[in-house]
């Protein structure tokens, strides 16, 4: 027990020291755009987490007396055609959008990484078969396929999630396979083979951590596109159903009142734009610091 505690403590200390002395962090913070991306993503995440606590109204309660109110102190972002508070809907929407983005990206990442790792490490016919599967997936137009899947399964958020997850994993598989092919020829993997380390352990302990960098970058960039995709599918009515406060649905509602109540469409629109921009900037910043080619600058001279 004490041994385990000790090892946890030492691991935490190690991470902390690595973070504190990290030139990676310094490099990341050197570019203001990276910091901006990180701030936007952090802000949205916080909003999503504490949204229900700070939201002034219930997002689905209608108040027809106060419909189509412009931004005011009582309703900072105005109200929609049913008198619901836009700020509350926006905050609850952030939960949904971000949650779906994380779930979809998670499924894609796990599925894609597993397939890529297996293909790259096993090689031979397994590699061939899996990569042809990837080719098939990539040959389908992603959003159209998602449309079809969502159409067949019926409109609901869960089905949108499934549809988006099924079409996006192939790029992860390709990326991971490529990195694994390069990494497995490196001397430390050869050394592990000579030390009688099991294949599973080589894959999980030696290969996986070394492909993590590019995968994290791809996942971050992907979050933005998933949010766009979810909003898009909801916009055309295949995703979240009213009265669920989802950004895409809110956008769709607002388009009938563009002339009279501009805020209904613009508030979720700007939120979507900011979120996607935030993730893209963060992803670019992470690429700068996590790209293996940059690692050489972190090494000490002999």
């Amino acid at each position: 027990m004490s041994v385990a505690l000790e090892s946890i403590a030492s691991a935490v200390g190690r991470r902390y020291r690595a973070l504190r002395t990290s030139r990676t962090l310094a490099t990341f913070c050197a570019n203001p755009l990276n910091v901006a991306g990180l701030s936007i993503v952090t802000a949205i995440t916080i909003a999503a987490v504490i949204g229900p606590l700070v939201a002034p109204y219930d997002p689905t309660t209608q108040d027809l007396a106060n419909r189509l109110q412009g931004p005011s102190l009582a309703h900072p972002f105005g109200t929609d055609q049913l008198g619901r508070d836009m700020l509350s809907r926006l905050l609850y929407g952030a939960r949904l959008s971000l949650g779906i983005a994380v779930a979809v990206t998670g499924i894609r990442l796990v599925l894609g990484t597993a397939i890529g790792l297996l293909a790259g490490y096993a090689g031979g016919w397994i590699d061939e078969a899996l990569m042809r599967l990837v080719d098939i997936q990539l040959a389908f137009p992603g959003l159209v396929l998602a449309l079809v899947i969502a159409g067949i399964l019926g409109p609901s958020l869960r089905n949108v999630m499934l549809a988006l997850a099924v079409v996006g994993w192939a790029s992860y598989a390709r990326l991971v396979r490529g990195t694994v092919l390069a990494t497995k020829e490196r001397d430390f993997v050869r050394a592990a083979r000579l030390m009688n380390v099991s294949r599973f352990r080589i894959a999980t302990r030696h290969l996986l951590p070394n492909v993590a960098g590019p995968v994290v970058v791809l996942a971050t960039l992907n979050m933005g596109t998933v949010i766009l995709g979810t909003a898009g599918l909801s916009f055309i009515g295949l995703g979240a159903q009213p009265p669920t406060p989802e950004w895409g649905t809110m956008l769709a509602d607002g388009r009938h009142h563009l002339r009279t109540a501009w805020w209904i469409a613009n508030v979720p629109g700007v939120a979507i734009m900011c979120t996607v921009l935030g993730f893209t900037l963060l992803g670019d910043g992470l690429r700068d610091v996590l790209d293996p080619n940059h690692e050489t600058t972190l090494e000490k001279p002999t």
Binding site: R23, R193, L194, M195, P301, T302
Partner: protein, 672 residues
């Protein structure tokens, strides 16, 4: 080009260039270059002064991190991302760092050329070699005519006759730098060239502008010994023919002895000693120069400890008083640590050391009266608390030798390895399938307890042979036996056989997983063998101690350690399961001379303590000679000579061996 170059443009305030320096082709005056880090500026070059006359060859030597390359790059204005904060560099009378971009470009086009260390990265893979040499010629001929269309190499727009003319001169240049059949090779792309050929092509590009000054930054470090010897020979001839001044940056004192007229010894960005090569190598005045010379394995008796310089080159952050070498200097006194060391001008060079006051004239025989590196294994980082308890009790005079056993541990019987090359379906149908014979019918035995050295040029099949022994490759024909049992690929070997063979790879950076801390790297083979947490932990601390690392290194990640420390970690991992055979694939060739000596000492100690058998692969004959009992010489995958080290290296019977021995640059050439 033998006349003194005319003074071009001296500014009125250019007081730093008195008249007597007007003959200097290159004058570096108190140069200071800093690099900004988040800990503050690091002084990479700290007041370096030296000069070059036309036709002279000067070597800059020092360990890595001493500021050699930064100095060289600053001379041509390529110091980015560093910043020149003081001092001047005059080439041909032009102040490089104050000159306009245009003047500087002209200087680079006409007067100075540079050859870089890594031949793989100096050539553009997208153009053929002839084109790249021709480009350099063109820039030299018509510096003003650098139109975009000329560079697109669009046949319609480019001037064909000019192109052909440059092409012909490129062929001539390739011939001069020693590329065989240049007319056939001119259309080849860089990837079709070998490393040595690429470096020659880089030299041809540098020579294309007919420079007065050639700066060569470690030009032969990436090459094997024979290629190095050929290239140095070529360089010497070319500088003589063209009366070209050469500034050679190197860490290898043998190379300096071979071709340099004068030497500048750099340490921590400061000039420690200058003087004629013969004098500096035979009777060095500065303790650092002496220590560098002592580290060379060729100077030590076989299988004995090589003297080492403890500690590492400091990173000079902020103001630090005293001589930068004082913490590592065996002769340092309190005054060295407090005040700036004085620089003495002598008739045979300068020396920046207080010792000049204390000792006066050094001994004529080189003044090696000081003791370096006692019988202790010490950590690279200069933390003297990390002392191997077992090693420190041993006296340095005792030879580190194990009695070679007689039973053979590994035997290779008629082993061959072929690689299929470019085997497409079409080629197979046409029957033009090419294959490469990497190892051809090799029969050899490694006796228990001995050290077998495997030498040969690069591409002679050394590493393939090692991989056959370890099981990373399987032989196309023949048998590999370990302890009498037939063994195959690593995947098919029993756990016991795998434990009996440890491997240390050439590059410690790539052989350790960058994402795991040191303790886990070393514990990896133990984990694979099913040891429990507590046992693993005990064994790791035991191993760390035996390779001379302290407990606090255990939690570090590989990028936090220096090259020598990493190689120690790799050695600890290799011996974790008490193997009987350790395969050392170029274990020290990626390391500095002083670190190299420490790793070799460690390997010899471990061999004696643990009764290990070594298979040592190296292209460095000095290393092989120092460590091995027997030597096997490989050429084109075949064993051309085998026998006891002394006999083979002293009286080589095969021309290939003779060529290898001949190619080693030795200090003794110049001093005797």
């Amino acid at each position: 080009m033998t006349t003194t170059p005319p003074t071009l443009e001296y500014g009125p305030d250019d007081a730093a260039t008195p008249d007597d320096e007007a003959t200097n082709l290159l004058a570096v005056e108190n140069l200071q270059v800093q690099f900004g880090t988040h800990d503050g500026p690091v002084r990479a070059v700290d007041g370096v002064s030296f000069s070059l006359e036309p036709g002279e060859t000067v070597g800059i030597v020092g360990e890595s991190g001493c500021g050699k390359s930064v100095t060289a790059r600053s001379i041509v204005g390529l110091q980015e991302p560093g910043e020149v904060v003081g001092g001047t560099v005059h080439i041909d009378g032009v102040n490089v760092h104050e000159a306009s971009d245009r003047a500087r470009r002209q200087l680079r086009g006409d007067t100075v050329s540079m050859v870089f260390q890594d031949p793989d990265q100096t050539l553009n893979p997208a153009f053929d070699v002839g084109e790249q040499i021709a480009e350099s010629l063109k820039v030299h001929d018509q510096p003003e005519r650098q139109r975009l269309l000329d560079y697109l190499h669009a046949p319609l727009f480019a001037n064909r006759s000019d192109w052909r003319d440059h092409r012909e001169r490129a062929v001539e240049l390739m011939d001069q730098v020693g590329i065989d059949e240049p007319a056939d090779r001119v259309d080849d792309y860089p990837h079709e060239f070998s490393g040595g050929m690429r470096q020659r092509a880089g030299l041809a590009i540098a020579l294309a502008s007919d420079p007065d000054l050639l700066i060569a930054d470690e030009p032969t470090t990436a090459l094997d010994t024979t290629t190095q010897a050929q290239l140095l020979d070529r360089l010497r001839r070319l500088t003589d023919e063209r009366n070209m001044a050469t500034l050679l940056i190197t860490h290898d004192l043998g190379v300096v002895a071979d071709i340099c007229d004068r030497v500048v010894v750099l340490y921590a960005g400061q000039v420690m000693e200058t003087g004629p090569t013969d004098r500096v190598l035979a009777a060095p005045h500065h303790p650092y120069t002496r220590a560098l010379l002592e580290c060379r394995t060729s100077r030590a008796a076989r299988k004995r400890r090589v003297p080492t310089i403890e500690g590492t080159v400091p990173e000079r952050l902020g103001e630090q008083p005293g001589c930068p070498f004082a913490p590592r200097c065996p002769a340092a006194v309190d005054a060295c640590r407090e005040g700036e060391p004085p620089t003495f001008e002598r008739d045979d060079g300068t020396v920046r050391c207080r010792e000049g006051v204390v000792f006066g004239e050094p001994d004529a025989d080189g003044g090696l009266g000081l003791e370096y590196g006692c019988g202790e294994t010490q950590c690279d980082e200069g933390d003297s608390s990390t002392t191997s308890a077992t090693a420190s009790t041993r006296s340095a005079s005792q030879p580190l030798r194990t009695d070679a056993g007689t039973d053979s541990l590994v035997s290779l019987e008629g082993v061959s390895k072929r690689y299929q090359q470019a085997g497409g379906l079409l080629r197979r149908l046409l029957g033009t399938d090419r294959s490469l014979q990497a190892v051809d019918d090799v029969t050899l035995e490694i006796a228990a307890g001995e050290t077998l050295g495997l030498v040969g040029e690069s591409g002679s099949g050394k590493s393939t042979l090692a991989n056959l022994v370890t099981g990373l490759e399987t032989p196309t024909s023949g048998a590999v036996r370990f302890d009498g049992d037939l063994v195959g690929a690593a995947g098919t070997r029993t756990a016991a056989t795998l434990h009996d063979v440890g491997v240390v790879f050439q590059n410690p950076r790539s052989s350790l997983n960058p994402r795991l801390p040191v303790a886990q790297v070393i514990a990896e083979p133990l984990h694979a063998n099913g040891w429990n947490e507590q046992r693993r932990r005990d064994r790791v601390s035991e191993l760390l101690e035996s390779v001379g690392l302290s407990e606090r290194h255990a939690e570090r990640y590989p990028h936090e350690l220096s090259g020598g420390q990493l190689q120690r970690v790799a050695i600890a991992r290799a011996i974790a399961l008490d193997p009987r055979l350790v395969v050392l694939d170029e274990p020290v060739s990626a390391l500095d001379v002083s670190v190299q000596a420490r790793i070799l000492n460690l390997l010899l100690e471990l061999q004696r303590d643990l009764e290990l058998t070594y298979l040592l692969i190296s292209h460095d004959l000095d290393v092989v000679e120092h460590v091995s009992d027997r030597v096997v010489v490989l050429s084109n995958g075949e064993v051309v000579e085998a026998g006891p080290t002394e006999r083979v290296l002293a009286e080589p019977s095969h021309p290939e061996t003779a060529a290898l021995v001949e190619a080693v640059p030795r200090l003794e050439h110049s001093s005797q």
